[in-house]
Symmetry: C2
Subunit: 347 residues, 2 copies
Amino acid sequence: MTSAPINLKKLSEMLGLSQTTVSRALNGFPEVSEKTRVRVREAAEALNYRPSPSAASLATGKTRAIGHVIPVSEHRMINPHFSDFLAGASEAYAAAGYDMLLRMANAGEEEGIYRDFASRRRVDGVVVHGPKTIEPRIDLLKSIDLPFVVHGRSGSDTDTYSWLDVNNLNAFQQGTQLLIDQGHSQIALINGLESMNFALRRRAGFEAALEANNIASDARYICSADMTETYGHNATLAQLNLNNPPTALMFASILPAMGGVRALNELGLRPGKDVAVITYDDELSFLQSPNGRDTPPFFTSISSSIQAAGKRVAEMLIQQIDDPKQDAINELWEADIVHGKTTLSTN
Amino acid sequence: MTSAPINLKKLSEMLGLSQTTVSRALNGFPEVSEKTRVRVREAAEALNYRPSPSAASLATGKTRAIGHVIPVSEHRMINPHFSDFLAGASEAYAAAGYDMLLRMANAGEEEGIYRDFASRRRVDGVVVHGPKTIEPRIDLLKSIDLPFVVHGRSGSDTDTYSWLDVNNLNAFQQGTQLLIDQGHSQIALINGLESMNFALRRRAGFEAALEANNIASDARYICSADMTETYGHNATLAQLNLNNPPTALMFASILPAMGGVRALNELGLRPGKDVAVITYDDELSFLQSPNGRDTPPFFTSISSSIQAAGKRVAEMLIQQIDDPKQDAINELWEADIVHGKTTLSTN
DNA sequence: ACACTATTCCAAAGCGCTTTGAATTACTGT
DNA sequence: ACAGTAATTCAAAGCGCTTTGGAATAGTGT
């Protein structure tokens, strides 16, 4: 049955009430008696009344929509981590009655979209993805007064805005320490793009662990690029072709780690036996098995759910939109070390 | 500089024109002289005037937004193919001035969201992802009169609505034939979930090729599940543990194919040498290298860009929204066979 | 019973745009 | 110069909601 579109006016006429009262009843204002509130609600339900978002938005100035601007890097590469992040975020939005507006932008061209969002009042807030160490988007958003939460952090002034980040430094320090504890001193870091702040912090953690154990850091053992499977593959081949090659590999993401394992296999090297492998793992949903994770998991990893992060970031943003003058929220999540088959088993 | 929000009224006052004229000038109506149109445009530009989408939407009944409802399967698995599809779609939206509204839904629960979209007039149209053979969403969308385009097809009445699909039957028939031509007669199909129509068509193509070559189809060689890496890994192990195991593997997606290769490596089997592998490849951007594809590519594949499909689907939908009474558009794309290292080289 | 405070409800004014129907102005040909 | 047509412009009425400032009704203590 195609339900005829019914609006506030009609609904209030049928009820013999004013639009004011109906609107207030539906929106939970206190100055309407419980009796009429129930009556209104039931009628609205029965007639399938749905307030028009455009009209509400025009009247209130709020859109009940959050913008996500997803950077697309060279070669139209779109990072698969986003789908999991968005899945988490959308949970929070659904719970709070918000919509998610998505826009893709070539990396570095996000600002125009933020300006557009702000000047047209298209969204109530945005989440900032992939912050660089120096992050002009943050200054822009502050200046145009568009609420935002950053997934990750920039390199400075991190107490002046809200963010949620994984403790990448700590995570990579611990991961590296694990390898060192297992006897490795030649460890390669297959890092992400170091213009990204998270990659820089990971490297810092890596180097801190080396230094704490008096291991000289070797620049040949570090590389950095967009985190694709192919990159992991090629970087691994390159590392193992060095004279005096590394005995352990540390990957910034599970995709290059998969490429790395593919390369090891091609070289006839067994991950976990001949070469140790640790990877950071965002717990991407599509890499899990239909019946839960492998037991034990294949990769030894430093692990934190990006989906959970997406959910929390969205909650933080909504909270901030509801109360714009509240203080910035900063959350630093610790990653978990998960022992898999790609390092020595620790008993 | 924080630009003060300017609206039509103010703009027209400054110009000494009516709101009507200014609105028409900006929206390209013919009944305004070129001279004033230019004057208006320049003023709008200079003052950074942006019409309010809510107001425009309220006045026109159009939202200039398209809804995407992404199914989340069990275990909150969100298919990474979507990000590439959406990247393609968003190109078309950006070009046409549309926004993309994203919502996640547990598989099978999409209908409530479509109803919500329709009754609140939140979007002008939707794209339907992952059609099943019997697809209630299509009937629903027809009945609530919400324009839509399907990515893929259902099993019946396919001429009654617009869709874009890859010729999966043909693709898998050709892929299978390639393996047969290389001497294989024991070929496994690691298929996607066969409740999805595309998976069914792929299987039909697979079986058609076997039949055309008088090879008996063996049910042990066929399996079906959500297309994760882990699934590919486990399925491959299972296949090769059969007595009389297959000599060639055909994967429905590159993710399980990667898992399959991981399994082969664990078993000490060389893909392309000991076991032939062909996979369907959506040309996922994040699996390409930063500097273009591997040359030659690793996988022999049947390949079609899901990003291109996303763009085209979006264009079709916009076209249909602009002219609702036009005929349904059906596009059937042929996939390309790409020769890689996982089958015998063909010279 | 009365004045007085709460409680409950309402009329009307926006929010910023599009669009109808009419009015003005500019251009024809004779 | 003048009617007649074409080219421009405009005033005002919505679109469907929220919200202000009052008005009406109900409840309280004396």
